[in-house]
């Protein structure tokens, strides 16, 4: 039994631990945060997404096939995964081989080679990747077969030439990690190249706007979309990305404004840098947001006509399959893609330790000291990251997600992953049942439904 000297008496640690009573209101992490706030006088900024526990896709199960539902043979019978995005108005919709896309992450937040790797990985897997706040880099365009160009409130690097080079345009209204918040890129990550692309002095904190500079509300947005379509000859699909705040109304308004595709980002969605209090306390989880968004699409008879991409905490093929079964057309990954590239790898454990953290916990992406060379603009750190290898790892991961999704679809007797439906799902908890709108397992009960 470990013992510790304390003055003259020996204390049995085991005994001590069993006698100590931790406060549910003031657990150790809360106490540490109060102490940190008192010391520094500033809120905590970090990357990643919500870390608190919320009802999510793990709270759902597939029923599988039975007497009345025939399964498909694994590896034998075809189960297709392709998806077409943006055929409502655009003359050149996007064709993806898998219903999993890579979400917008900025050059600035990420190194140039990390952006290149995202493009390489997505291209090998037959899917799209997305630019971010700060514009489009040539490396990213070159290595991405399908590239979605974001139009953000800051308009950093917004350029009509790049608009025409893009395969789709995503108007970012909000982000799940911070619905109502703008971007934040702190001075230490503003290299000369990043500053130049954003028309700002080097080394200063960049406060990306939280509202668009040239439109307010859905009626204006409809006209903004008209302008973008006119500039690009009505070729490119127009996505509207919303953070999960009021997804029922926001989806309906996005459809009314003329979106080809709605991108819905739940509160577990990642960010490069945001106040912890914002990440953990604003917006709703992906699970109820998805249900509300699908309801809006169905009520307007636009389900599958305007496609829905959902993001925020997608980690496995199970998450993908459940999102599709609830009515999404595709999903998007951000944090998971960075982990696949090599972020938070145990190979850098010693360096994570020297930053006061550990592999699996590192979320100070805004500081630019990422040992994996991914969320940094430091040339030495960035040089550690091999974009070819990173791209291969991302492609492997995307392939696993697609295979897992197919496995679950076949088990439910579906020859296309889009044939998965809410009827295939049950919930493990009353909360998830109410949020997802599927019955509690073993019952025909959905709270709130007659």
């Amino acid at each position: 039994m470990p013992t510790k000297k304390n003055g003259d008496s020996q204390i049995n640690l085991h005994e001590l631990q069993s006698r100590l009573k931790e406060s549910a209101t003031f657990p150790r992490q809360v106490i540490a945060e109060i102490q940190r706030a008192a010391e520094t006088g500033i809120y905590d900024i970090r990357g990643w997404g919500a870390k608190r526990s919320v009802p999510n896709f793990d709270d759902l199960l597939f029923l599988g096939a039975s007497m009345s539902r025939y399964p498909l043979e694994g590896y034998r019978e075809k189960c297709t995964t392709s998806v077409t995005l943006g055929d409502r108005f655009a003359s050149k919709p996007i064709e993806l081989k898998i219903p999993i896309t890579v979400a917008g992450m900025s050059f600035g937040a990420l190194s140039g080679s990390a952006k290149e790797a995202l493009g390489r990985g997505a291209t090998i897997a037959g899917t799209s990747t997305t630019t971010g706040d700060g514009g489009m880099t040539p490396e990213e365009r070159e290595h991405s077969e399908l590239l979605v160009y974001q139009l953000l409130p800051s308009r950093y690097g917004m350029n009509p030439d790049d608009l025409r080079k893009a395969d789709a345009i995503e108007i970012v209204v909000g982000q799940g990690a911070k619905p109502g918040g703008g971007g934040m890129l702190l001075g230490q990550k503003i290299s000369e190249r990043v500053a130049g692309m954003r028309d700002l002095p080097k080394g200063i904190d960049q406060r990306s706007a939280c509202r668009h500079p040239d439109w307010t509300g859905p009626d204006d947005l409809a006209i903004k979309i008209q302008e973008l379509r006119e500039i690009t000859n009505w070729e490119k699909p127009i996505y509207i990305k919303i953070g999960a705040a009021r997804p029922y109304y926001d989806t309906a308004l996005a459809i009314k404004a003329g979106a080809d595709v709605v991108v819905l980002d739940g509160m577990q969605g990642g960010t490069a840098a945001t106040q912890d209090v914002f990440i953990e306390h604003v917006g709703i989880p992906t699970l109820p947001a998805l249900r509300q968004s699908v309801e809006a699409l169905q009520e307007l008879d636009m389900h599958r006509k305007v496609q829905l991409i959902v993001s925020g905490g997608i980690r496995s093929g199970a998450d993908v399959a459940k999102a599709l079964a609830m009515g999404a057309d595709a999903v998007s990954i951000g944090v998971a893609a960075l982990i696949a590239l090599g972020d938070n790898s145990p190979a850098f454990e010693k360096e994570y330790n020297s930053l006061g953290t550990s592999a699996g916990f590192y979320d100070d992406w805004h500081e630019g000291r990422d040992p994996s060379g991914i969320s940094t603009q430091d040339e030495e750190l960035a040089a550690r990251f091999d974009p070819v290898m990173g791209g291969r790892r991302l492609a492997n991961y995307l392939n696993v997600l697609a295979l897992e999704t197919q496995t679950l679809a076949r088990a439910n007797g579906k020859s296309h992953v889009h044939n998965l439906e809410p009827e295939d799902l049950v919930a493990l908890t009353i909360e998830a049942s109410a949020m997802a709108g599927v019955p509690l397992a073993g019952t025909d009960w959905i709270p709130g439904k007659k």
């Binding site: 009509p160 954003r198 500079p213 040239d214």
Partner: protein
Amino acid sequence: MPLEYDLASGSTRELNKKLHALGIANKVDNICITNPNGAHALAVGLTRPLKVNIKGHVGYYCAGMNQIAEVNIDGNAGPAVAENMMSGYVTVTGNVSHYAGATSHGGTLLVCGDASSRCGISLKGADIIVKGSVGHMSAFMAQTGRMVICGDAGETLGDSIYETQLYVRGSVASLGTDCIQKSMTEKHKNELETLLVSAGITGADAAEFNRFGSARKLYNFKVDNADAY
């Protein structure tokens, strides 16, 4: 003879397609557009050396994302005229609504009348010259480029401004966060004179203008400045 396009019988889509196809091989084409009647997104995304003359009032985003072309609006313009312009020259003979020249990277926007609120918001390098006055929150988060206001400026001019130069001849209702008056040196007078001459403004003397810009106190977050936000 300039080409003519009558929007009373045509459409915005057909007009923009036509404009995108004109001006090939460095030949400057002239086109006159009649009966715009407040239509949106006219003459957007131009990339070639055209001279476009619009006879009448236009709606939102006229000459949006312009490159190289010269667009003259003989009337008033709705919100976000010449938004995100990269180069070229856009003139409005009348007044303009909100967000004129928003996020423009290059070229010149000349407004002969007044501009409404948020003129030059997030400006990224273009020149905006307003013969009349501008509304509240103009030059909000303006990053670089120059704004010349021959009349008055509304409340909170230059809020959270970065490196844009602001020249105002008349009164300023109030300055926004981190925006201060700066000295008018010979260099700045010369710069302003060049801008006034290029815009054909003869009635205003550079010496009558005051210069405003960033105090640069909020460039890096300091907790002691928290009450400034």
